[in-house]
Symmetry: C2
Subunit: 390 residues, 2 copies
Amino acid sequence: MATKPLVSIVSAGLSKFGRREGLMCRELFAEATKEAFERCPNLDPIQDVEALFVGQMGESYEHQGHTGPTLADWSGLLPKPAIRIESACASSGSALRTGIYAILSGLHKVVMVGGVEKMTHRTTAEVTEYLAMASDFPFEQWNGITFPGLYALMATAHMHKYGTTEENLAQVAVKNHHNGTLNPKAHMQKEITLEKALTSKMVASPLKLYDCSLITDGASCLILTAPEIAKQYTDTPVHIIGSGQASDTIGLYEREELTSLKAAKVAAKQAYKMSGVTPKDVDVAEVHDCFTIAEILAYEDLGFCETGKGGNLIQNGETELGGKIPVNPSGGLKSKGHPVGATGTAQAYEIYLQLTGQADKRQVTGAEIGLSHNVGGSGATSSVHVYRSD
Amino acid sequence: MATKPLVSIVSAGLSKFGRREGLMCRELFAEATKEAFERCPNLDPIQDVEALFVGQMGESYEHQGHTGPTLADWSGLLPKPAIRIESACASSGSALRTGIYAILSGLHKVVMVGGVEKMTHRTTAEVTEYLAMASDFPFEQWNGITFPGLYALMATAHMHKYGTTEENLAQVAVKNHHNGTLNPKAHMQKEITLEKALTSKMVASPLKLYDCSLITDGASCLILTAPEIAKQYTDTPVHIIGSGQASDTIGLYEREELTSLKAAKVAAKQAYKMSGVTPKDVDVAEVHDCFTIAEILAYEDLGFCETGKGGNLIQNGETELGGKIPVNPSGGLKSKGHPVGATGTAQAYEIYLQLTGQADKRQVTGAEIGLSHNVGGSGATSSVHVYRSD
């Protein structure tokens, strides 16, 4: 447990997630950075923050690329280097990884990492098309499959191989909707019943409406420093002690199996090894529940249960608040919402709150070790980070 | 001159630039990586390369995002982390910067950086629209201005303030077209006359057809290592001894002046300071001549001449091969071509060839210190690197 931290988080910010009409990415991101700056009065944004790495998935939503400098401008960071990172829905997980490189490089002492997406001003058909760009054009998009379909294939395979049920999937949704009601920044603020989830509209069998995460606007950010200077900025830093990242084929059709994400397993192994943490040490986790099946895969890929037993874990309530390993106390992508580029560092934001005792009604008592798990596309990118309280 | 290198380049690859019909980004990138691997037989691609950072500007060309893992897959690099970097036309300059962070972090000993773009299968109108996403949506794109117009504003201001002439602009085109004929991988392989350039079709006054760079398909890559292990892989590494990167407002309308790029000046200052190199020490440079005026701005922003004297520098032939400071021996974006995401590391590829004596007919005799200057959009991003032969 005494592993040397890679970097320390000295502050973090999150915009309200939801339908944020009339705002652009630059304004949403500034809302997140404002919180991070206000939370850390010892830090001078203009002088101290030396670089920005920001995840954003799609240039199509706002017909706007080259967002690094724009977001830096609106957060007062010019003329610092500002780089956009794109790894589909793992864009800001990758941005966090890049910020860790930047601090460890010694070229920077303090950097900001974050992510943003503005989605709700587009039609569902447009969003579905833009999201599909994270899957393979010639073999997936071209043949008409979209993300609900890709994850439905994984769900079907998992149900067939391990006996996971539609009820298990719905139980993930019920849990995360409950957690979302405890998070004032979550997009959704409503409880759902198992029956409501199970009888909701079919999207791509076996995935129904309540098995799918939300189309959301939002932004997130973290301020990272070299561990040795963290206490200059805060009495309660959170340390990142493990970072893993891995890649897989973009197309599902080339994978060895559909019932786990190899990139997530490889990334988790790296992050555990680097941190000296084992799955049973993790007190709280934010995982990438873009669809309910994805949370069940995450349980297994992260070692929270044996392979094939993810359905049992949720069924037994072990990932609820108060359970053995609370997962997605924020409400997750399912209820907090999934502004795709913002999700990776939004997960880290929740872990930061949890490990500093600021998570209010959803606080996991005594949480000291946290984990975040961010997935791009159908698993071609995965980024896993392990955190420790000070 | 004895500055400690940040990283070393042990190999590099470049696809043929041009109209590459029927190929996708993944295939173009594999063509570049194949050259890099073949050039470096001591390196085992599968074992040794630990991460990929790849610049690509546009998801629209191929309706394909999430390209990091796809390119890694086609180059045999799975399951290594593979991250797409987007900074408009400076995407692979930013990828190079990120690769430097990654090596200096100590988390990786060997990484690949590169870039790619596939553009020519789209209509000129489509390409113009996709490129415009690198300018500001609400204040630039929305009002109908595209990149030739933005650079025309800069050209007009420079001509007004400093007496730079249309002939000076055309002289840049003539020089770079000549250099392109010496580069078998260049898109264009033809000399042009001053008269031909000056009488070519007006695009955005004062910029004519021959003042504009090319719409091109291509890919580029570098293999970077920690300096202390470079000799395991090659007898002739090239060392990167300075890296600068800076940002500016995305919109021209917010700049203090139109006659220089502040981000380029800030980035150059950082790179010179880090390397201990001064402009007069530079033996060969690749600069971002997306339009001819941009090369003239680069002369000034990089300190190759006094502010306002860029026109004289080209007029006096000082940036030709055989001149005081040869610029764009590769042919530059103007004649080698400008597959936007690939450009930054394609510039580094040329410097690598020059500093290892492999530039054949366009070799700058005895070149020991090189510089590359990559610009995103109308200058909201700039990335400058300084190189030294072993």
